[in-house]
Amino acid sequence: MKAAIKAISYYLPPRIETNLEISREFPEWSADKIAEKTGIFERHIADEGVCASDMGAESAKLLFTEHGIDPHDVDFILFCTQSPDYFLPTTACLLQDRLGIPQTAGALDFNLGCSGYVYGLALAAGLVETRQARSVLLITAETYSKFISPEDKTVRSLFGDAAAATLVAASETGSVGPFVFGTDGRGGEHLIVKTGGLRHRQAAAGKAAVVDEFGNVRRDNCLYMNGPEILVFTLRIVPQVVASLRQKSGLTEDQVDHYIFHQANKYMLDLLRKKLKIPPEKFCEHLAGCGNTVSSTIPIALYHSLKAGRIRESNRVMLVGFGVGLSWAGCMIQL
């Protein structure tokens, strides 16, 4: 028995931050330059008081209404976020109640970013294929905007808030797998919010912002990304994952119909596409209107690829997520 993706919906918070608004605060970082370098025109930002869980709940409700799914049929909730409501209780437990999912359902959070969707599919498929669950609701939801310093033009330009909901259940025709995973904790410091967890509950009193070797301002309580380090990692790892997945699936380059990578930014996507010699019609780019939504980039891109008819049933699609951790995962899917 194979598990497969049965349905996807997603939610973007209503408030939009445009390139023009960002460029007003940074004289040399024009709206055109932002669009050219990142491929992003707008990103959606959650209001104060709106958490990842709130957006996650909205995405799940959209999943139920858009696809005619009854929340009473869900028997497991997986919630992927790095912006939980609380240290405890588990945010997925709160979502069970909010969404009217039966009390007999399991629920857990897992903390991953850009690789989170593929890990979530692996966990969901594992539950379904071992018959521990029948109908898994996988929600990815992120509010990086709440970690981002207004002074950091790079991460402000790249990241947007969003949530996506996916139903994974047994399927006659579709599948998820095989999977490839990877982890390199040496790169943990390259994408980090240093304080707020238990290692450093608060920033050291009076500690000033530090300017790094590239002129980026870093504050311990804000999201810090070392772009060059992340690029080196991406260029090394993603080709390895792609090769490994082709080999594991016994597929040639031509037999993979479509590629959806984590939509980090257009610069990186273009480099990867050229390095891997993937024809443009097989390669997904969807971030202009929402930016890098972390663990939701892949489901959002998949949703749009399906809607536009670029991906059809029985197509062999490769998904690869990579980033914060450093963590990566790839899989093949058929819908």
Binding site: E213, N216, Y267, K274
Partner: protein
């Protein structure tokens, strides 16, 4: 690998710099355009044009375009 070609590729990695305006002795961190975007472009250029992985640590150790060229020539062998 040829130093003149490398300098031209390096110029391509820096915004708003005229072809022929940089030379092997240029200390690239002193350029007014130096930023993480330039570092990204250099890493990408080295990967695309020379098929070599340049780490941030290695880039950090180089002061001039010539030093970077020497480092990469050593790696390519």
């Amino acid at each position: 690998m040829n130093i003149d070609d490398f300098v031209r590729h390096f110029e391509g990695a820096v915004d708003d710099v005229a072809a022929g305006s940089l030379n092997p002795q240029t200390r690239f961190r002193d350029l007014s355009q130096w930023s993480s975007l330039v570092a990204l472009n250099i890493i990408a250029m080295v990967d695309t044009e020379y098929g070599v992985e340049l780490s941030v640590e290695e880039l950090r150790k180089c002061q001039s375009i010539e030093e970077l060229f020497q480092l990469l020539s050593g790696k390519k062998k």
